[in-house]
Amino acid sequence: MDKIERKKKFAEMVVSLPSFVWLAVFFAAPTLIVLSFTFHDHTANGGVAAAWSLATWRDLVNPDYPTIVWRTIRISLEVTAWCILLSLPCAYAIARLPKNIRAMVAGLIMLPFWTSFVVRVFAWKTMLHPDGFLQRCYYIFLDIRTWLFDWLPGFLQSFLCWLGLATPGAADPASATILDSELAVVLVSVYTFLPFAIMPIYTAAEKFDFALMEAARDLGAKGFYAFRKIFIPGVRQGIVSAILMVFIPAIGSYVIPQMLGGTNCVLIGNKIFMRAIQNRNIPHASALATVMALSVLVPIGAWVWWKSRQNAKDKKRLEEATRESILMGGAS
């Protein structure tokens, strides 16, 4: 018996150990190394000091870093919001198409993904060039906006400025270029991550029973009301995966701000790269990486915890209901 047990255990180890060891050595261990580096100070020649210290964490409140962390989170949320907003009607529209066209359109959505990501970002960079067509459109848009707001009473204009819808006074030509601004980073990030938001919502929408929408309409719900109250809750699972698929890479974004954001839009990813490769300040890079990991893991962890609590509650309610019905059945 013992021999069979041992043989089984041996089989399990043979099958699991290759991937287990690989990931332990090349994923878990490096992560722990990064974490431990944050508790050391950096040395002048680019190394890590041997003594333990909290100097790195103290340096993290340096006025530069919190701004960058906040900017990264803000831009990631903006990108996620745009992606979800655009992919909901898209997924809805694809799911309503006839079956043979559906697969083709879904394929069309994923096809851009087959061109190299860096090359697509380069194409955007060329497109957003200051002499380019898009930039000229943007100038016209800015002109119209200034012209419109010139006619407004002063207090309304300052209110709009406060909302971020108007620029106070004359537009500064340097800040009016799309390239090297936050606008370019948000635009191209939405472009890059949009297929990854559409796909999970579309997968959920395909399983969604559209008869429900029809029922809602028969009961008097107007188009958008039915969409909001029936469709969106129906594809909730897809929306959650879409949010994760966009938010995680957006937080870790490094190439897009590097190539399109210039010096105006430095994100955590760029700062990590700068500290790790250019300045050789490994503890600082590690600390920033830890902050980034936390800003991804904390929301996901909170969601998983909330979800499991919700599930436990539902289970309990179900059990109580079953027990009650059994009791009632016994009584009758």
Binding site: S16, S19, T126, G252, I272
Partner: protein, 272 residues
């Protein structure tokens, strides 16, 4: 049922938004002037299309030699990383499917966490490991990094395939006297093959396209196609060659996808 024209309009606009850069990638490959990246000369006259970038790529001209070598390095690494991650991903999926104990729970966490970690964190932590172990960065460090982030994707794809795997098949094989290895190669592997292929395809795409992780672990002088392109400046003379090569890659992938489609259709016809 009433059609929703609003959502259809959005879909068409989104498709346009997704395709304009792709169309431009193709167009930029025919640009005569690589420095201004315009089809018109300084006086505004139209210069026409050129195929010189394609000629350079096919003849392996010295001006594009670095670009081509980075491209072949990418292919080489992607092929090797796909192979390794398919093997490791399949074994880990089998283990996770077969046994459910505390050790496998840790194993699952190890496989799952890389999926929710931003790429850059995997890149920097591997760089730290290589620095701490005094390993010189180059071909093999890129290979290790790519295998590390590809395993999880392969495992997840194969696990999905295993979810509707009928265990009775393997039991039947055992009852008929087949050993575990024989059963694996003759029964389980053929059934899992579509899942492994799908995972491998995903791994290949991810590996050949990766720039973030590679730029941390490539060391000086070793460039894959994405890191080489991202290190080019805007006004590099050879920029159209990059776009031409990308167009060729896009055509290649489309042809491959079409071929796979035709082959599966043929097989389906034969089976029915």
């Amino acid at each position: 049922m009433k059609k929703s024209y609003f959502s259809l309009t959005i879909l068409v606009l989104v498709l346009l938004f997704l395709y304009i850069p792709i169309i431009l990638v193709v167009a930029y490959g025919f640009i005569p002037n690589g420095i201004s990246m315009q089809f018109t000369g300084a006086d505004g006259s139209f210069l026409g299309f050129t195929t010189k970038w394609y000629e350079q790529i096919f003849s392996g001209a010295p001006s594009v030699r670095k670009l081509l070598s980075s491209f072949w390095l990418s292919v080489e690494i992607a092929a090797l990383a796909t192979l390794a991650s398919c093997v490791l991903g399949t074994t880990s999926a089998l283990a996770l499917h077969k046994w459910k104990n505390r050790f496998q729970k840790i194993h699952y966490a190890l496989v799952y966490t890389p999926l929710i970690m931003p790429d850059i964190l995997i890149g920097i932590s591997l760089l730290m490991l290589f620095v701490a172990c005094n390993v010189a960065c180059g071909f093999w460090t890129i290979f290790i990094a790519h295998v590390t982030f590809c395993i999880s994707y392969v495992t997840m794809t194969v696990l999905a395939r295993l979810a509707d795997f009928d265990n009775a098949v393997t039991e039947a094989a055992y009852d008929l006297g087949a050993g575990p290895l024989y059963t694996f190669f003759k029964v389980e592997l053929p059934i899992l093959m579509p899942g492994i292929m799908a995972g491998g395809l995903l791994a290949f795409t991810l590996s050949i396209d990766d720039v973030v992780i590679t730029s941390f672990v490539n060391g000086a002088g070793t460039n894959t196609f994405p890191t080489y392109v991202s290190s080019m400046v805007k006004h590099s003379k050879n920029l159209p060659a990059v776009f031409a090569l990308s167009t060729l890659m896009l055509l290649g992938t489309c042809a491959l996808a079409a071929l796979i489609r035709v082959l599966t259709n043929l097989r389906m016809k034969k089976l029915s």
